[in-house]
Amino acid sequence: MAEKVLMKGNEAIAEAAILAGCRHYFGYPITPQTEIAAYMAKRMPKIGGTFLQAESEVAAINMVYGASSAGVRVMTSSSSPGISLKSEGISYLAGADLPAVIVNAQRGGPGLGGIQPSQSDYFQATRGGGHGDYHLIVLAPSSVQEMASLTIKAFDLADKWRAPVMILADGTTGQMMEPVSFDFEISPQPEKPWALTGTRGARPHNITNSLYLSPEVLEEKNFERYRKYDEIIRTEKMAEEYRMEDAEIVLVAFGIAARVSKNAVDAARKEGVKAGLIRPITLWPFPSDTLLKATEKARAFISVELSMGQLIEDVKLSTECRRPVYLCNRAGGMIPLPDQIHRAIMEAHSATAPGTSVSFSSCNKEDK
């Protein structure tokens, strides 16, 4: 597929996974990620792959564990409540150092919530989600093209670091249709000498496991995993900077919120306000140094999110309380419109204008 095609974000994820060599997909239906499963159901049988609709999310994630143990590229997808159900299995994947790609097309919550887009699983995704000390590598696409490119990247990262990778999308990025090109260079899959492929009597048998009988050994496993995480933090952070050269009012937003934010930045610039946007592409590891560097010119930061103030915590941690951080948000399936963000920029602009008394040490300048 060298030419462009017109795709939904969810379809782009599915096609990109196939292109990346994924031949095993296990899932359970839930809106708004259904197109991923539907696409896999159509395509997998035609290319010798396996599409399996499991009896539950819990079953699906454990099938992912099994397939990953066998050394193949494997993916599952769900939406918010379904990801909660998968969380135990995701923790097991992390505990057994198994690569896998998990897609969350977020919807409004908590609970059953609704089927409209949301970003309120940010904490769940970036802090681990399940039990125990672990992280997922979390990628946040904001266009259909990126749904494709980051899916391929997700498989590479998962294999490279032997870690589960989450694509944190949302109802809108999954449903919207855009032209997309699949002109990707696919790197060869790495060898997996740890995989359960049968010893043929020629080597000691491999085990994928998260149970350790000795606490000393389990502690050492945790230390070792966190040394790996340090390396991931050091090398894998990604962010897009938009009109940041001289930005004084800095928006921080990912996914669909970043798209709306760009419009607001442009509108503010037209009125002479030096606004810019930092769009984290990796939510974990969070591109904190990009934000910290921005404090040199910035007067204020605004976290734009489809949640009640989750991303804002990483913005505050990254900027080390050097500048006030405001919140501009909608929740429950609603999307902030460019007008609302534009207003937030203007308010932050006047509140932090030179000569006004603003406490730069405050980290609690949240504002609706």
Partner: protein
């Protein structure tokens, strides 16, 4: 005519010679509304004279553009007659998003009834059909444009009405196609979708709408490159390409080039998206 299509048609429309659905669509039992629209459309519209039957059904692969086309066709009918009773019926049981409900205000302003599940565009993710859907077959003095759900799964709901629709014989079922959608890239895969839908809906198609586009990347070349594909689908399916639908912004930009190459252009006004 494929075997299945013949079978469907034969088992419902008895005693008529030839293809009752295509060769003699106006033969017998022609309703007043049908005659009226045919006369009025002789001098109207773009390219070829568009003839509307009492019921116009839009079906096809999901994401092919059915909903936008349904709304545009209904508004086109209204432009041709200010007082004709018209309705848009939304039978989508697959997709809870991007529904005809997004055009509610526009349709209401045009005096077009909107028949849609009360749960469309809400958080209730249930494959619900509107209870008023039987108006399509019962209100025979009203023109209907029906937005059928995507693929064979979506068309299943139509099967409930197909017997009555065939019996009356006053319908067009149009297959909306786009060669830039990943699962309908070539004529063969498109015709495969067509067959699956016909089987699920138990209703044969009567025509094709070529809606090939690449969203914001669409140019005149995008559309012109799709013409061979549309002709190929038309050839295999033995169905005419009745319309080539083009986003009106694209159409206005490349008007002369497009008009030179395509005779049945129908410019579309797309529903506004929030982002």
């Amino acid at each position: 005519m494929s075997a299945i299509r013949r079978e469907i048609a034969d088992c419902v429309v008895h005693g008529m010679t030839g293809n009752p659905l295509r060769d003699a669509p106006f033969a017998s039992g022609e309703s007043a509304i049908c005659v009226w629209l045919r006369v009025q459309t002789m001098n109207a519209g773009f390219g070829r004279n568009m003839e509307y039957k009492r019921i116009t059904l839009l079906s096809g692969h999901y994401g092919s553009g059915k909903t936008n086309i349904a709304v545009n066709l209904a508004l086109d009918m209204r432009r041709r007659d200010a007082s004709l009773p018209l309705a848009v019926a939304d039978l989508d049981i697959v997709n809870p998003y991007f529904r005809t409900l997004d055009s509610k205000a526009e349709l209401e302003a045009a005096g077009i009834d909107l028949i849609v599940s009360r749960y469309a565009n809400t958080n209730l993710d249930a494959p619900a059909l509107p209870s008023e859907m039987y108006r399509i077959i019962e209100e025979r003095n009203r023109g209907f444009v029906v937005d059928v759900g995507g693929d064979d799964r979506g068309a299943l709901a139509l099967g409930r009405l197909s017997g009555k629709i065939l019996e009356e014989g006053m319908y067009d079922m149009l297959l909306v196609i786009n060669c830039y959608r990943p699962l309908s890239r070539d004529a063969e895969s498109t015709v495969e979708i067509l067959r699956e839908i016909e089987e699920a809906a138990r209703l044969p198609f009567t025509g094709i709408v070529n809606n090939s586009n690449l969203g914001s990347d669409t140019t005149a070349e995008t559309i012109i490159s799709s013409l061979d594909y549309a002709r190929e689908v038309s050839g295999i399916a033995e169905l005419p390409v009745v319309l080539t639908t083009i986003d009106e912004n694209v159409y206005n930009k490349y008007r002369s080039t497009l008009q030179e190459r395509i005779e049945n252009i129908f410019p579309l006004r797309l529903q506004a998206r929030p982002v």
